[in-house]
Amino acid sequence: MLEVEVKNVNEHETWVQLTGDVNIQTSPSLRAKLKPLFEQKGGDIHIDLSGVSFMDSSGIATLVEGLQWARNREGHFVLHDLQETVNDIFVLAKLDTVFEMAGKPA
């Protein structure tokens, strides 16, 4: 129900493509895939959310861990290309200005 594809573009940049719903059932697998990335010493992590139409608070909590990683390591943790429904939840949760967000990946 959720596909997570991790691509290490180079030593400074990792992209993660998510496809599917992020909820109580699928967020543990997302966390398991992202956790090793949060142990990196530096670099930036980019999350492509164009394939995600639904995300609950467990998914947001996992992304918050990424935000904390970025703050501690002076890296960037960027959310890309949120669908309108997912962006709405970030607005509702007043997190739309907390996360670094960008459009479609180049």
Binding site: D56, S58, T62, A93
Partner: protein, 153 residues
């Protein structure tokens, strides 16, 4: 009764997709927008997750779920969702029921967002302590201007 769906299921994480399907059916019948449908689905998911994790602590005990379109008057209708569990009576005194507080990257913590989101989305959230369990009722009234609200935010 044609606008009421009910089922009893074991409280397991993968069953969240069953509830989502039921919610989607009623949202479509009520002609809710994609944004509203997503919000309502989120609130139901969050309450379900709360019961699975905290009420039953991962044990697949039975949970009854009802989803219904209520005609409050000729001009308006609402969606009502009811969960009934047999978990220990939940202490909701610690729930954060007010408006979600803005936060920043320096102070944000992972978790604790589910209940505030339920309250932010639903018009009414009611908890009843039963002799052997809890009954939870969520009421959502359609907001025809929700798209504009989102665009203006």
């Amino acid at each position: 009764m044609k606008n009421k769906l009910s089922l009893t299921l074991p409280a397991q994480c993968d069953c969240v997709f069953i509830l989502r399907s039921m919610v989607n059916v009623l949202c479509k019948r009520s002609k809710l927008s994609a944004i509203e449908k997503n919000r309502v689905g989120l609130a139901v998911d969050e309450l379900y997750a709360n019961i699975v994790r905290h009420g039953y602590q991962g044990e697949p005990k039975p949970l009854t779920f009802d989803a219904e379109i209520m005609h409050e008057n000729e001009a308006s209708e609402a969606l009502m969702f009811t969960f009934q569990d047999c978990a220990p009576v939940f202490d909701i005194s610690a729930w954060k029921c007010g408006e979600i507080e803005p936060c920043c990257a320096e102070t944000i913590t992972a978790g604790g967002l589910g209940i505030p989101l339920i309250h932010a989305i639903m018009d009414e959230v009611k908890h009843e302590a039963l002799e052997h369990g809890n009954r939870w009722t969520l009421l959502y009234r359609s907001k025809k201007n929700i798209k504009k609200e989102v665009c203006d935010a």
